[in-house]
């Protein structure tokens, strides 16, 4: 068989393997054409409306190809986060005042406004490095490390992967393992779960730092169906243990008849909350199972990408994700790619829109909308082209929207689902530039 065909097979299987393990695929090294270094860069803007989160992210990913299909990869990402996120307190028809996580001052939100907390605005740096190489004739192995830091959060992790080919390399079975240790140093320390939000200067009894451990296992099969169709099925198991709370998230306490927040008076001479709030409490363990399937189908020059993921965990959350893209070539060197993603999740067992005054405090409770029941849609368009010097450029614009609903049995008195669930509207804008390929 010709050298070119061998190159294509190796490229095909490297592609399948690498993409299964989440690393970028690399072409095999051949004498004349293959550059040693490949670079992918991207600038991303993510912006929610109404004063909420905005993120500007710069990413650089570099791959160094060595002989015998050995690959070194390094990635760097810098994210600048600004804006605010819903704290979990419910809007009221009067001014609400909250003590900042630092415990040093207060902030207020107006009547009818959704309480937002801006404590986590920061710059985050992330570094990844990985090595991949064949093991014997049929196996490929990989190992990598990851590290990220922001002022109140540090992550370190390691990952391993092993894959084997069967059936003239039409079938690839892969195994992956990732382990991580994350450390949190929340502003003001980690609040005692379900403790009350205190007046300024009255924070006590908190751990200054906490941690969590995460382990992920992935088992996957990639299968060539025919000349035009490639499919992949993955099962993954993820376990997290340790401090899983969001230290800045709270719940309002409301009157069980009217649904209005219960008032409170700060101690004499102190500033503090004007209503009763409790810090959230989540279990210290979480186990997630995911089933993922993807197909890439060649439609006479166009490429259809369709994937589905089902996730279920022991917090009571089930989710479904359906994602589809259609790559439409335009002329010799450019393409247009529309994209639609549909997502739905059910709420966590301990999700509560608010706590009721006078009821026994539950063991776990969170008003974090990300643990609630909602549907989300992403719709976008990407346009890509190859420059005269063979570099790849793409621009992408997408719209992401979440619409939630609160189970009616959780609404109390005057509470009304439409005004309570924060929802989300965001724009995603991304420019990518790749060279050395």
């Amino acid at each position: 068989m010709s050298k070119k065909t061998t190159g294509n097979i190796a490229k095909g299987l490297a592609t399948a393997t690498c993409t299964l393990l989440g690393t970028a695929a690399a072409a095999p090294v051949s004498a004349e054409e293959q550059p040693e270094w490949e670079f992918d860069t991207a600038l991303l803007f993510y912006g929610e409306d109404a004063g909420r989160v905005q993120d500007l992210s710069l990413n650089i990913f570099a791959r160094r190809l060595f002989a015998d299909e050995r690959i070194l990869s390094v990635g760097l990402a810098v994210d600048s986060l600004t804006g605010a996120t819903p704290s979990g307190a419910v809007p009221q028809n009067e001014v609400q005042t909250f003590t900042r996580p630092s415990g040093e001052s207060v902030y207020s939100v107006g009547s009818g406004e959704l309480p937002l907390d801006d404590t986590f605005l920061d710059t985050r740096y992330a570094l990844t490095a990985g090595w991949q190489q064949p093991l014997g004739r049929d196996y490929k192995a990989s190992a990598g490390v990851s590290f990220s830091t922001e002022y109140d959060y540090t992550h370190i992790g390691t990952n391993f992967g092993l894959s084997r080919d069967f059936n003239k390399r039409n079938t690839t079975v892969s195994l992956g393992l990732a382990l991580a240790r994350d450390e949190l140093d929340p502003v003001g320390g980690a609040p005692v779960p379900l403790s009350a939000m205190a007046d300024v200067g009255m924070i006590s009894g908190r751990d200054s730092s906490t941690s969590k451990d995460v382990a992920d296992l992935l088992l996957g099969v990639t299968q060539v169906i025919n000349e035009r169709l490639l499919v992949q099925f993955n099962y993954s198991l993820s376990t997290a243990s340790g401090y899983l709370n969001d230290p800045y998230k709270i719940l309002s306490i409301v009157d069980p008849i009217s649904g209005e927040a219960v008032g409170r008076t700060p101690a004499p001479g102190l500033e503090g909350p004007l209503h009763e709030y409790r810090f959230e409490s989540r279990p210290d363990k979480r186990t997630k199972h995911s089933l993922f399937g993807q197909g890439k189908y060649w439609l006479g020059g166009k490429v259809l990408d369709l994937s589905y993921r089902f996730m279920t965990d022991d917090w009571g959350i089930d989710s479904h994700t359906l994602d589809t893209k259609l790559n439409l070539p335009m002329g010799e060197t450019s393409y247009l790619e529309p994209h639609v993603r549909l997502y739905t999740q059910s709420e966590a067992d301990f999700y509560r829109v608010s706590l009721l005054d006078g009821e026994a405090m539950p063991l776990f409770a969170s008003a974090d909308y990300r643990l609630g029941s909602f549907n989300a849609v992403t719709a976008g368009l990407k346009y890509g082209w190859q420059t005269g010097s063979g570099h790849d450029v793409a621009v992408r614009l997408e719209y992401y929207r979440q619409d939630g609903d609160i189970p009616s049995d959780q609404l109390t008195g005057n509470q009304d689902s439409a005004s309570l669930y924060p929802g989300l509207n965001a724009v995603i804008f991304n420019i990518s530039y790749g060279f050395g390929k």
Partner: protein, 76 residues
């Protein structure tokens, strides 16, 4: 066997069966011209996929499925 263990055993068996049952499917090495194209990669832009995974991991309760990228963050 508990329901949870049974569900897990079924999933693992199903995935392994897919691998072994597929012996008759596939292409000969010389039929891979389309499959070898960049646009037919399962992940055509891994940086973009990582960025999107990070957005959705921060805003939703689910993560991963396709593989795992590096780096946690304080946003979930």
């Amino acid at each position: 066997m508990s329901a949870r263990t049974a569900k897990r055993a079924f999933v693992v068996t199903f995935v392994m069966m897919l691998g072994t049952a597929c012996t008759s499917m596939g292409v000969e090495p010389w039929e891979r011209d389309v499959l070898a194209k960049d646009r037919m990669k399962l992940v055509t832009d891994s940086v973009e996929a990582g960025l999107d995974d990070h957005i959705y991991f921060s805003k939703e309760a689910s993560s991963g499925g396709r593989g795992f990228g590096g780096g946690g963050c304080g946003c979930n």
